[in-house]
């Protein structure tokens, strides 16, 4: 199968999300669910209407899906770099790897560009704006 109906799949995901939200809302007291409950209900109805509509939905080629997944993993890789080596160094490493792969620059040019980007970001955020988030670094929990 070289084509996937991505739009329908996306709407089904939203429908599942809305149903979970609706069921979650039922657990709250009447005041706390005053708006979340009807809003999620409207969302469910609209998602069902969108799935049932006769309008042709967008069909994606497998190649474009692969490219999208590559892009998502690329950003995920950057997020992981920030988690492991910190945002300033992570930005430098990410820029270097990206430019080496995409721009076909030699290592020296990529290194110089990425150091410039990392220093620029470091200078702007840490020195000029004096934001030092490392002092209260908190992971998701």
């Amino acid at each position: 199968m070289s084509k996937i109906n991505g739009e329908k799949f996306f709407i089904i995901c939203l429908l599942v999300l809305s149903i979970c939200y609706f069921l979650g809302s039922l657990a709250f007291g009447p005041n706390a669910r005053l708006l979340p409950l009807p809003v999620s209900l409207v969302s469910i109805v609209l998602c069902i209407l969108a799935i049932a509509s006769r309008r042709e939905s967008q069909v994606d080629k497998k190649e474009s899906i692969q490219r999208e997944l590559k892009g998502i993993f690329l950003i995920l890789f950057f997020v992981a770099l920030i988690a492991f080596v910190g945002p300033a160094v992570g930005s430098g490493i990410f820029c270097m790897i990206y430019m080496l792969r995409k721009q076909n620059l030699n290592i020296l040019k990529s290194l110089a560009t990425s150091i410039c980007v990392a220093l620029f970001i470091y200078y702007i955020f840490y020195h000029f704006l004096q934001l030092t988030p490392d002092s209260n670094f908190q992971l998701l929990y």
Binding site: E7, V39, F94
Partner: protein
Amino acid sequence: MDIIDAALSSLNLLLTYDVMIMLCIGVIYGLCVGLMPGLGGIVAIALLLPFTIGFGVIPTLGLLLGAHIATIWGGSVTSILFNVPGAAKSLALVFDGHPMTRNGQASRALGASAMAALLGGIIGAIFLALSIPLVRPIMLSIGPSEYLILALWGLSIIATFSDGSMIKGGIATCLGMMAAYVGMDPITGTPRFWMDSIYLLDGIYFPVAMIGLFAISEMLKLYVKQTSFVERVEGEETSTLLSGCMDAFKHWWLVIRSSLLGLWIGVLPGIGASVGGIAAYAQAVQTSKNPEKFGKGAVEGVIAPDATLGANEGGGLLPTLAFGIPGGESMAILLVAFLSMGIVPGPQMLTTDLDLVFAMVWIIVFANIFTAIIGLAISPKLSKLPGLNPNIMIPIVLSVCLFGAYVTRGYFADVILAFLFGVIGYYMDKYKFSRANFVIGMVLAEMIERNLHISLGLHGNYFIFTQPVSIFLLFLLFLTTGLSLKRKNSKKEQLSV
């Protein structure tokens, strides 16, 4: 004290060498901060607070208010050029500002934006001075049920962005509202959809969601398509700054209307400029002869929100100074600064200390002028940025955005959230689910919920029908929405014929 005397004596206080220097420093600093996605006026002012000790009151006010005004325009620039709202306030600029850039009219959009903000600031200041005696009774007559209807009015523009499918537009709005209800319920204190994460108890942080929804998703799109950041529909940049500036004068009536709207939204505490921008956009669409052009690069869609934002700050000063109730988030930080400078808010600010209020109004006018001059000077360079090679843009913009998401609060979870919203935003854009509707839903959801609860508690289930101002506003809401939809349908019929 006589109003004219107060206005003149405060102008005299302002026209000194040190005040002007501090104002310039504040404006340049504010522009730098405003151009960084996610860092809004609150960060800019909060970072300046330690530097305000030891200076006089007026120079310090010049520094703080100058930075605050310039940050707002900086946020408009990123909305127009990169589809990334620099702050929640600049959200409405995304709707037509970025399509203008895509159409090769970035310079025109920047010119119109700077000039509309300048005119809005000046008009807002003039009307603020004239309306000071009227303000107090009007401020007190607007209650939660009226705020609720104002929020619903903001929600009524989703039809404008539901290009092609109202169902998809509705889904996007519901999703935005659902995202806004994550976290602690402000009324009952019930934790909602927090998935046992303390981070989510605070709710979804709005600037981080916007960075993901607009900036990261755009970078993902750029990576997939491998075209330049701006897919220019009509070739290269074709417009000029001057044409944009002239547009602001051509639509003078829209500028005046939007400025007055911004002023009054600023005066009413608790609404916030992000709602103001959306409301200004809504009135521009509903009163336009060509509403179908909105969302596709209509210059009116840039002029209206920027004029509102320009005027909003002057209005926001009134409740902050007269009642100690901040008109918005930035005003809350400013209030802290005022207190540290010995400025004590209270009704005396509108009577005996009127010269200080006017000094601030003048500072806002001068800050708008400096911002417009500096902004117009750097705009030709800025307008070339979106045409850069995508392989250079992607790593740099991603670095700045993820760093911006991280650094604002220092939570790594914000980076993850920005990434998730980036993926959601990409697929929403791909399958034509309006991201604008999502954000409008997210912005207005909290205001709708809070005011609905308060109205029900105060006036019972039929509160709308017991409040005369609410009935009037509700009538206006139905009238403007009905007329707008009717006009849209008749245009559609004309096109099909």
